[in-house]
């Protein structure tokens, strides 16, 4: 039986454990995407008219994009809702990969097996990474398929570019949560800092550019690595994506290093 076979090692068991969370994330994103595509497909022009009177800052927060109904739908999905769902997923499970077993007190039993701490961390982190990849892929697939189904023209929207750029930022925040949690042995620290920084950087990136003098500050936030080059219009910015992935790798490295060198709790 497949479920029993998934008990073969830490990697496969973690897939089994977190399959439900991945399914929830995918279904949530499909539902949200369907809502955006259907509403904007039928009433997009009315929304655009309404939003013409919005202050620029408010339009930015809502993710308004290039003045088309399709752009409004895609930016709502990829700049607002998909980051919300994917960051929750990656930050929560990133922390759990680092200290979930330690906090639930199953680690002593698990580590009575001949496993390195790092093996457990790498196995679980790989599942988070795989989960994020699968969720983004399925979201992209869902968006493209549904848009085609309802006849929404996405030729002006670089959905693939936005998906890939979003992936980089989600991995970065997941790694931040993982690294901090592994370092201190506390999920609270990892989740709190990563989620707080995500919210803060979102608002800094969307609101500050309205004020000319402060516009450059937005470039210092992690969110800029995703939205700074407007991937929905311009496609993937390889430099920003590379920076996000390098930072993520460094944070993972710090987490793995410190986890190997601290006392385990419990």
């Amino acid at each position: 039986m497949l479920r029993d076979r998934l008990l073969a090692n830490v990697f496969t068991k973690t897939i089994r454990d977190w399959l439900l969370w991945t399914a929830i994330a995918v279904i949530a994103l499909w539902s949200i995407s369907a809502m955006y595509i259907l509403i904007m497909g039928t009433s997009g022009d009315a929304y655009l008219t309404m939003m013409e009177d919005f202050p620029e800052a408010l339009s930015n927060v809502y993710g308004m994009n290039n003045g088309t109904a399709e752009g409004l739908a895609m930016s709502g999905i990829f700049f607002v809702m998909a980051p919300l769902v994917l960051l929750s997923y990656a930050i929560g499970l990133g922390s759990s990969a680092a200290v979930g077993e330690e906090e639930s007190r199953s680690l002593p039993i698990l580590l009575s097996s001949p496993l390195r701490r790092r093996t457990i961390l790498v196995s679980k982190s790989a599942v988070v990474l795989l989960g994020v990849l699968v969720t983004v892929l399925l979201t992209w697939l869902g968006v493209v398929s549904l848009a085609a189904l309802v006849g929404m023209d996405l030729s002006e929207q670089n959905v693939t570019g936005a998906s890939i750029q979003l992936l980089g930022m989600v991995i970065l925040f997941g790694a931040l949560s993982l690294g901090l949690s592994a370092w201190r042995g506390s999920s609270g620290l990892g989740i709190g800092v990563a989620a707080g920084l995500a919210v803060l950087s979102y608002f800094v990136t969307t609101l500050l550019p309205v004020v000319e003098e402060l516009a450059d500050v937005a470039r210092l936030t992690p969110w800029w690595l995703f939205s700074g080059a407007d991937p929905l219009t311009n496609g993937v910015d390889v430099v920003l994506l590379g920076i996000a992935l390098l930072l993520a790798a460094a944070l993972f490295g710090v987490g793995a290093y410190t986890l190997d060198r601290r006392d385990l709790k419990g």
């Binding site: 029993d4 008990l7 073969a8 090692n9 830490v10 068991k13 454990d17 639930s104 007190r105 199953s106 002593p108 039993i109 698990l110 580590l111 009575s112 097996s113 001949p114 496993l115 390195r116 060198r261 601290r262 006392d263 385990l264 419990g266």
Partner: protein, 305 residues
């Protein structure tokens, strides 16, 4: 000393662990012999679990070091754990998995175990492995934990407070399982705060107090050292001072026509002093190992570490 290829199953040298200002373990020198059941006794917070967690490299010592089966616990941690079975004092199994699934997972991580033996252990401990762990009572969860420790037939079995939550019958079964490990030539390191638990199966005991090892002794030798009590009843009141100065007497107290004497060693001198009076009755009590244990706990024993 009996060892595996000249190395002790467990050996610590100056093992020390501080948590800030708290000295959880101080300069522990300990050597466990192959094929013995070693009882590691001490009250809660004495440093027993800290010792075990150091041996398994879950925590880093402040000073000193340790080897298990001749392997350095820090640099060879993974190999140590491949040859050691461990049951922690506080742990959680995976609640959404059944007992059998928990054991299958842990067995897979070790490259598999004899499933027939797992079934045999489950039968002996009377636990239903088909139920989800979240549905099991504390005692039954403990039994699943015990099975995972015994199913590997490891060279060294480390048990930390293993009888917690077990009823008396199951405690007896556990003691039998521990004896079988010893009969098989393997070694058991049994940590407990209960002397009664350890006394029944251990060959030697080490007593830990406030992080210090205060004594390592064979259980039978410890019993010989036990302070015994004797009630001497006379036909009239007798001064306790008449006995207090006799060699081996720890204390003497008059109670009406009786004198209650606590002593260690030979009873001859005490009886000779008693028959100088008119003895009506003599009532001797069993050696009280519990008292020795408490004496060491409270710092009244002779530190021989």
């Amino acid at each position: 000393m009996t060892t595996i290829n000249g190395v002790a199953p467990i050996k610590t040298e100056g093992l020390t662990k501080h948590y800030g200002d708290v000295k959880a373990l101080v300069d522990l020198d300990l050597e466990v012999q192959e094929g013995e059941v070693f009882g590691f006794l001490g009250p809660n917070g004495a440093g027993k679990t800290t010792t075990i967690r150091s041996l398994l490299h879950f925590i880093f010592p402040t000073a000193g070091g340790a080897s298990v089966l001749g392997l350095d616990v820090a640099s060879d941690a993974v190999e140590v754990r491949s040859r050691v079975a461990y049951m922690p004092s506080e742990y959680s199994l995976y609640p959404k998995l059944t007992g059998a699934e928990n054991l299958a997972y842990l067995a897979n991580l070790r490259g598999g175990v004899d499933n027939g033996y797992v079934g045999e252990l489950a039968e002996r401990l009377e636990v239903d492995l088909s139920r989800k762990v979240s549905d099991l009572s504390t005692g039954n969860k403990q039994k699943v934990g015990l099975i995972q420790a015994f199913m590997n037939r490891s060279e060294l079995v480390i048990l930390d407070e293993p009888s917690t939550g077990l009823d008396p019958l199951m405690q007896q079964e556990l003691q039998q399982m521990i004896r079988e490990v010893r009969e098989d030539g393997r070694t058991v390191f049994l940590s407990s705060h209960s002397l009664a638990e350890v006394e029944r199966v251990a060959d030697r005991v080490g007593i830990l107090r406030h992080g210090h090892l205060v004594v390592v002794e064979r259980v039978d030798a410890l019993k010989r050292k036990a302070i015994r009590r004797i009630d001497l009843e006379f036909d009239e009141p007798v001064e306790a001072d008449a006995f207090a100065s006799i060699a081996g007497v720890r204390s003497a107290e008059s109670r009406g026509n009786s004198v209650v004497v606590s002593f260690e060693g030979s009873v001859n001198a005490l009886l000779r002093a008693a028959i100088e009076h008119n003895v009506v009755n003599v009532n001797s009590r069993e050696a009280d190992l519990e008292q020795i244990f408490l004496d060491y706990y409270h710092g009244n024993g002779n530190d021989v570490a």
